[in-house]
């Protein structure tokens, strides 16, 4: 039996299996990219949202927070924060950081002006409307 | 390994016709069972349909693995593995349908 089960055969199974499932994955990924703009209503990616996203990325927000569960687990989920807190609370909160409360986790002050705060909030609003298959289970994220 | 080929060869040479006849019979039974399942799908429904068709499918699966794949000739462990596979898939499906 050992002689029949050759290394060449094992290699062919590796190459065949890998190629086969790569094709399957690529087809699925193609289909996903057709669906995603509908599920996340990409039409609403306004210039303000995109400016907000740029601020979000270049201040490394996911270095502490999560967005739809992805990022670091040091600070609350932001995918649904717009629905949890509302725009005014968010702006006031970002503006008031850091709290300086002893021992409590601190968020830096990013020195955003009023326009930038609006952009960030617009981005968070856009995030909160993505169809995430009903995740998170509740508003607390 | 060579010896096992010889066995099959001996077998084939001894009764060349019987092997063919057996395969043809299996094939005809498979065609018949498939037609039966297909006809049943409009005739009956519910758990009667589910159990009959599932039963027929398991018989078909047994025929394909035993006769076509040639598990009839091999060590019983492999037949057991295949039988366990077919039975577990069948019973999981039956269980899921009944729990609906």
């Amino acid at each position: 039996m050992q002689q029949v089960f050759t290394k060449a055969m094992a290699r062919n199974i590796f190459l065949g299996g890998a190629g086969f499932f790569l094709i399957i994955y690529l087809l699925l990924a193609y289909d996903s990219f057709q669906q995603i703009p509908i599920r996340d209503h990409a039409v609403n990616l306004t210039p303000s949202v995109l400016r907000g996203k740029y601020l979000f990325d270049t201040n490394d927000c996911i270095g502490c927070h999560t967005v739809n569960g992805e990022g670091a687990y040091y600070a609350p989920e932001l995918g649904n924060v717009y629905k949890r807190r509302g725009p005014e609370f968010i702006k006031a909160w970002i503006h008031a950081q850091p709290s300086g409360a002893p021992g409590r986790r601190q968020m830096p002050n990013f020195h955003f002006n009023a326009d930038q705060l609006n952009d960030i909030t617009a981005y968070l609003q856009w995030l909160s409307n993505i169809d995430t298959n009903k995740w998170p289970p509740n508003i607390e994220g | 390994m060579k010896s096992s080929h010889t066995v099959l060869l001996d077998n084939g040479l001894k009764h060349p016709a019987s092997g063919t006849r057996r395969a043809t019979l299996t094939w005809l039974i498979l065609l018949g069972l498939t037609t039966l399942s297909f006809r049943l799908s409009t005739a009956v429904s519910g758990s009667v349909l589910m159990f009959t068709v599932l039963g027929l499918t398991l018989i078909k699966g047994h025929l394909v693995t035993n006769e076509f794949m040639g598990l009839r000739h091999v060590r019983w462990v492999w037949r057991l593995v295949m039988a366990i596979y077919l039975l577990s898939v069948g019973s999981i499906i039956a269980f899921a349908y009944l729990s609906a």
């Binding site: 094992a10 890998a18 270095g63 986790r105 601190q106 830096p108 998170p136 509740n138 | -």
Partner: protein, 466 residues
């Protein structure tokens, strides 16, 4: 060591261990910041510590993999490395790039770093593991190209064993899979979808191929078991890795805005992902039992046998625990993921890196194996680090369970920070095991500072006199 040019592996291994120390230090700081949020704030905000911790992990593992490639490829190809000089230059470039990256994280605010490095032209920054500024990302590609050129040329002119083909092939895969790091679309869901090509593609795909090649090499060398058998097993194992792992990427797509069918497809295929790790354990122990010689480097054997077990626990078991969609619905983005990440990264990749270092370093220093004293220190370090990592994993799992019951699956869910307060005791346990891990690392490093090599006659005499 049979070829002079294998020597270039040495600086890679030393630098890898140095960066490893750095990674653990940042890990300890991050762990403390979980307990005392004002610790080192605002000088070192959590996100900076966090990205230093994860980036150092990636860099030291890559350092070790590259060192391993420079060590293994010539030996397997039975020829000198194509260009040892290029390998050495590449080393210094890579080390400098790594150092510049970490220093810029520490001393330049992230926004300013983005502005300074042309992020506005081609945005790539602000994603987990891929926080590096654009020039650094380009540098990583160049370093990878230099490595690929060197090892591929060596492979072409030498013997083409399966181990070598898999190793060089997976290094190509590693470089290709880094390219999506430059793809950062404005649509966040698409961006996250593509981000996993790098992260899942590396950690649950390509790196498992590297792991297979390194483990195969070590076992061939140390057990004397027939190469044909070992290489056949490695092929089957990595075949199962890709068969389950390619569509298994779907377990990252459940709740991030990707289509709903990934919930089923991802669950079905990622449920198979522990299989290659089970095969890895079966293969390693089968090989160990069939060994034809007793290699004097017991420490390297310990690392090599520990890897499949810990990889199975971390990647296989802890991964399976969180992979099915209905379960992940409640624990997605909690400390469960961190627990799995810690044990999987350590068990699969840190340990295989330490295994190849343990096997190769004595040879690079002109010994078959280290003296028994040094090996005893090293093996003590092994047990300290491994058990501590299990402790860290259990503590983080505990913190995840708190989140599960108080925040995710609660009738009256508590807010994030309240829940974090309730989980404090687990963060204390994590920090405790973090310190013990660091102790283990120091014990491990101590083993490098013993002179002398393993002397068979001497060891036998001592053993008999007892």
């Amino acid at each position: 060591m049979n070829y002079q040019s294998q020597r270039v592996a040495k600086p890679y291994f030393i630098a890898a261990l140095g960066l490893f120390v750095g990674q653990i230090v940042f890990g300890l700081i991050a762990g403390l910041q979980y307990l005392n949020g004002t610790f080192l704030f605002p000088a070192l905000p959590f996100d900076v510590v966090h990205m230093s911790h994860t980036n150092l992990l990636i860099v030291w593992l890559l350092m070790a993999f590259m060192g391993a490639a420079y060590f293994i490829v010539p030996e397997e190809a039975q020829t000198e490395l194509y260009s040892p000089k290029l390998a050495l230059i590449t080393f210094w470039v890579f080390l400098a790039a790594g150092a510049v990256t970490i220093l810029s994280y520490l001393f330049v605010p992230y926004t300013q770093l983005a502005a300074m490095t042309g992020n506005a032209v081609l945005p790539t920054m602000g994603r987990g593991y891929l926080e590096q500024p654009l020039p650094i990302k380009v540098g990583i590609v160049l370093v990878a190209l230099s490595l690929l050129f060197n090892v591929t040329m060596t492979l072409i002119k030498g013997r083409k064993t399966s181990i070598n083909i898999i190793l060089v092939g997976s290094l190509w895969g590693l470089a290709l899979l880094f390219l999506p790091a430059f793809y950062f679309p404005q649509d966040t869901v698409k961006a996250s979808f593509g981000w996993w090509w790098v992260v899942h593609g590396w950690v649950e795909g390509d790196w498992e191929l590297i792991l297979g090649a390194l483990l195969g090499f070590i076992l061939i060398k140390m057990t004397g078991v027939d190469r044909e058998i070992i290489e056949k097993w490695i092929y089957i194992i990595i075949a199962m890795t890709l068969i389950s792992g390619l569509v298994g990427i779907g377990h990252h797509y459940y709740y991030t805005g990707a289509p709903a069918y990934w919930i089923w497809l991802g669950s079905i295929f990622s449920a198979l992902e522990p299989i290659p790790f089970m095969l890895l354990i079966a293969f390693s122990f089968k090989t160990l039992l069939q060994r034809r010689r007793e290699h004097p480097n017991k420490a390297a054997m310990l690392w090599a046998m520990g890897t499949p077990i810990m990889a199975f626990l971390g990647a296989g078991l802890w991964g399976f625990m969180i992979t099915l969609a209905p379960v992940q619905y409640y624990i997605h983005g909690t400390q469960f993921t961190a627990a799995h990440g810690h044990l999987a990264f350590f068990g699969a990749y840190a340990m295989i890196a330490l295994a190849i270092i343990s096997y190769a370093m004595p040879l690079l220093r002109g010994r078959t194996a280290n003296s028994m004293v040094a090996q005893r220190w090293e093996m003590t370090g092994f047990w300290f680090m491994t058990l501590s990592m299990i402790g860290i994993t259990l503590a983080l799992t505990g913190a995840g369970i708190v989140t599960l019951f108080l925040q995710r699956a609660a009738e009256d869910p508590m807010g994030f920070m309240q829940v974090q307060d309730k989980a404090r005791v687990f963060f204390w346990i994590r920090e405790f095991f973090g310190v013990s891990f660091f102790t283990g690392l120091l014990i491990y490093l101590r083993s490098f500072f013993f002179a002398g090599e393993y002397e068979y006659a001497n060891e036998m005499k001592q053993a008999l006199s007892k």
